[in-house]
């Protein structure tokens, strides 16, 4: 389990804007350590955001998404007090889910 994500969701004029900051190394598999051995790739492959039970965004990431990935998107609907859930899964099979309340 990685560290918690930071999620902000704000509703304005019927559109909810979600900003997510994930805590993840996002190792590309291109870098070498001091001994010259390649650091194995370790990155988030899939990320899904849900509003209640409805999926509002599903992403696939490659290793060239930056370390501690940031993501912002907007969806129609959502009201103050409702929940937005974000889950990710990485190429080592690790995963994490966090939720935030729309404000």
């Amino acid at each position: 389990m990685g560290n918690p994500m930071k999620i902000r969701a704000a509703n304005k004029d019927g559109v909810t804007e979600v900003k997510v900051l994930v805590s993840h190394e996002m190792e590309t598999g291109q870098r070498k350590d001091a001994a010259g051995a390649i650091v194995p790739a370790w990155f988030i492959t899939e990320l899904v955001a849900k509003h209640g039970d409805k999926t509002v965004l599903s992403c696939e990431f490659g290793p060239s998404v930056s370390k501690n990935p940031y993501l912002a998107f907007k969806f129609k609907g959502g009201a103050k007090g409702e929940k937005v859930t974000v889950s990710w899964k990485d190429n080592k099979g690790d995963s994490r889910t966090d939720e935030a309340t729309i404000g």
Partner: protein
């Protein structure tokens, strides 16, 4: 050499992999929506990545906007945004031409989600960034060059 046996072995392991993916999808319901497109992310060149995404020849469109800095001082963190005014956008992808693997991220947008996403990517060197947008059944593309300065003095 028994070629058929090879093929069988190959397809067998492929099926097993799919099964594993499905099982992983069951643990977190909803994750199965996005089966990681290995072929597209492994593609070395733009053309191969586009082909793997099913968008062999996207049309250039003014209705797709790529936002990002003109000059990125740090290639490890380059903010990139894609927005489009096209109707029925169901998919957005960000590709970086000169990265070892061109495809950086793809987003599936269900109905109700706006065609406006921002994220941060890594760039190995100065390169064109392509935003691929699927509107209806057609693919559209826009591009922007981002210069990466390694020296850190801002060029």
């Amino acid at each position: 050499m028994n070629n058929q046996r090879r093929t069988v072995l190959k397809s067998g392991s492929g099926a097993a992999l799919l099964g594993m993916l499905a099982a992983a999808g069951l643990i977190i319901p909803g994750m199965a929506l996005a089966d990681w497109n290995k072929a597209a992310f492994d593609a070395k060149s733009m053309a191969d990545a586009l082909k793997a995404l099913g968008a062999a020849s996207p049309a250039d469109s003014k209705d797709v906007q790529v936002t990002g800095p003109d000059i990125a001082e740090n290639g490890a963190v380059v903010p990139v945004g894609v927005a489009s005014s096209l109707p029925n956008v169901s998919m957005v992808a960000i590709l970086i031409e000169k990265n070892p693997n061109a495809l950086a991220a793809s987003f599936v947008l269900p109905e109700g989600t706006e065609a406006n996403v921002q994220t941060r990517v890594k760039m190995g060197q100065t390169s064109n960034i392509y935003a691929l947008v699927k509107s209806g059944d057609k693919f559209f593309m826009a591009t922007k060059e981002i210069k990466v300065t390694l020296g850190g003095c801002g060029g």
